[in-house]
Amino acid sequence: MMNRRQTLGLAAGAIAFGAMPLRLHAQENAQFIPSLVYRTGPYGPNGEPFANGAADYYTLINARDGGINGVEIVFEECDTQYNNDKGVECYERLKNKGPTGAAVFSPLSTGITYALIERARADKIPIFSMGYGRTDASYGAVFPHVFTAPATYWSQATSLIQYVAAQEGGLEALEGKKIALVYHDSAYGKEPIRTLEALAERFGYKLSLFPVAHPGLEQKATWLKVGRQVRPDWVLMWGWGVMNSTAIKEAAAVGFPMERFIGNWWSGSENDVTPAGDAAIGYKSANFHGAGATWPVHEDIFKHVYDAGKGAGKRERVGEVLYNRGVTNAMIVVEAIRTAQEIHGNKPLTGWQVRDGFENLDLSAERLTELGLADFMQPIKLSCEDHEGGGSVYVQQWDGKTWKRVSDWIPPMRDVVWPMIKESALAYAKEKGITPRSCT
């Protein structure tokens, strides 16, 4: 005779078993999107707002629109802790989930992107490395499955040099100037060096390099050298996590003017300036999307997600730079899937079908306005060859409370960047024995 506990256990099992077909049925018409995030670990404070922004946008699409053309989005997070090994593990765990497998992977780490590029090529799953990863993967002939829109590190480096030149009085005025790059000593931090060196040769400025070891807790030696010995005219920074706020504090401590200190787009969030307090006022950084919760899409997020108690994070943090970056990432993924549906039909799509959507993505100014994101970012148009699509950034400045735009959109120097991208990608293809496809 069964006791009470066994009876309850059996009943629970029966209910779960009975519910299973319903759940599976519900997911048959669902598009599975894996989310590689890091809410924990040394870079967790930065990973969390990004993850929240992406999650809230997917929730918004389901809650407000009933999914993408009626296809519900099912997303699942896997925490990589910004660790390459864990990133690969997450990829393997999630790639076959959902009725059609993973639609796309956004690794949220340059190192993990490097680790996944060839695996994803073999598995026929696109990789969307928005604003990170391999810059040369923008060349679609060699990397048909990798998309780097809306901008890459190399493009960003050329835009920042143009901004510096504008402040100095033109590109000719760069001759003889001293520009320092303080960078995270990793694949990510080293990405812009080649471009900055090429531009130094072209415009005659002197480039000094200052690597900072992970995670960047101690930078006194670096900043003594920068601020007391080299004394550059401008400092650019390719930092991440605690490295950024420490650098800002140390720069202030050696009296380096914040107005001449510009971080890249991963060095320009609220998390980077808040710990430094007033010392950070005047600090600048690049960005490729808006900061603040003032766009119609944010109103929708408040109304359909937070008012319904479905928000992934804190309501007051909606609109922070990294939150908006998560929204941007999710929005581009959704629009790529929508484009893919125009080609393959309104149904859950495989990764390779979603890839077609990315390659034909045309995110015009009108479409951005329809999405509630007018002037939030620059339009993106991708093609078989060009997987970057735009490349423009603007410079923002911290006023102690918010980020303010202090420049117009600065397009990249395509004449500098694109030949380098092609050359590097073709060298990669040769090394790996890849035959570039024809994009003509």
């Binding site: 390099l209 101690e218 006194k220 996590g241 504090k249 710990p275 307090g277």
Partner: protein
């Protein structure tokens, strides 16, 4: 030949050409070393009294700082936040002694070490579950503007940190030398069984020493938190303390201070004058290499106790 010159000649030429800059780097390094010593002290206290290498010291620094800044963010005054956080660290010490250490009495040191790894995971997770993983600014009113003294640049914050560390060491030295509890701690450190045989209660001593290490962790957490912001990375500053411990010895409070000064000054001078030729970002591994070189000549560290075991 060029490489040899870059390593053996050029840095010294650079130092000779700009001696003031060299002294700025040296002073900056010594002051950074004091901050490392602040973290290393917590390790030394526990190892000295119990022979346990407390892997959780970095997590305790983060844990204490999270509570301190959390209370301040709730609107509490700094003094009250400090007092309540000390209370939290006392409670934590009692819980660790009761739940982790007491059941493991007489186990091998490696077992206790593994237990402290478990404590690390618990503290990292529990602290962030309670207070979140956001970066929190901690302003305790210490100025961090640059100061020029006799033509030399010095960071004011680092000077305050050095003074606070000095006071902490003085307090610990007085505690160990002149209080009955301090003497009992030293007795336990010398020989557990002998101390117990004369009536020193081991459990109480362990709770006290973990409390003191927790308070040292709180001071380190406040100073490092004021410098970096309170965030998960505070737990990683333990990595900066390890070469200090290797160099200074695991059982010596003065060793932690002197080791910190040597490591701090050594890594900063190396980074500035030898960094470029060695590829840059060398200060982290250089600290370990420096400690390893010392180990070759003094395996017990500069001030560590030489263990002689008779067969």
């Amino acid at each position: 030949m060029e490489t040899l010159s870059a390593v053996l000649v050029e840095p010294f030429v650079a130092i000779a050409e700009a001696p003031m800059f060299f002294f700025e780097v040296l002073i900056g390094g010594l002051l950074s070393g004091v901050m490392y010593a602040l973290v290393a002290l917590g390790f030394v206290l526990i190892f000295k009294a119990s022979g346990v290498f407390n892997f959780a010291q970095g997590a305790m620094v983060l844990f204490a700082a999270l509570f301190f800044v959390g209370f301040i963010d709730l609107g509490w005054p700094i003094w009250l936040s400090l007092v309540v956080t000390v209370g939290v660290m006392v409670l934590l010490a009692l819980v660790i002694e009761r739940a982790v250490l007491r059941p493991l009495v007489n186990q091998d040191p490696i077992i206790l070490f593994m237990a402290t790894i478990g404590i690390t995971f618990f503290l990292d997770g529990f602290g962030q579950t309670l207070w979140g993983s956001d970066v929190r600014r901690l302003d305790i009113g210490i100025p961090d503007d640059p100061l020029i003294v006799a033509g030399l640049y010095v960071n004011q914050f680092d000077i305050y940190a050095a003074v606070i560390c000095g006071l902490l060491v003085l307090g610990l030295a007085l505690f160990f030398q002149f209080t009955p509890t301090g003497r009992a701690l030293r007795a336990v450190a010398d020989d557990h069984q002998a101390a117990m045989s004369v009536g020193v209660p081991l459990n109480v001593i362990w709770a006290i020493v973990w409390t003191v290490a927790g308070i040292v962790g709180l001071v380190a957490g406040i100073m490092w938190g004021a410098k970096l912001g309170v965030q998960f990375n505070l737990a990683l500053i333990a990595l900066k303390a390890l070469p200090v411990l290797i160099l200074g010895g695991f059982t010596s409070v003065p060793g932690a201070i002197v080791g910190g000064l040597i490591i701090g000054a050594g890594e900063k001078v190396a980074e500035v004058f030898w960094g470029e030729v060695l590829g840059g970002a060398i200060e982290d591994w250089f600290a370990y290499m420096l400690a390893m070189v010392f180990l070759l000549f003094r395996p017990q560290g500069l001030f560590g106790e030489k263990i002689i075991e008779r067969v």
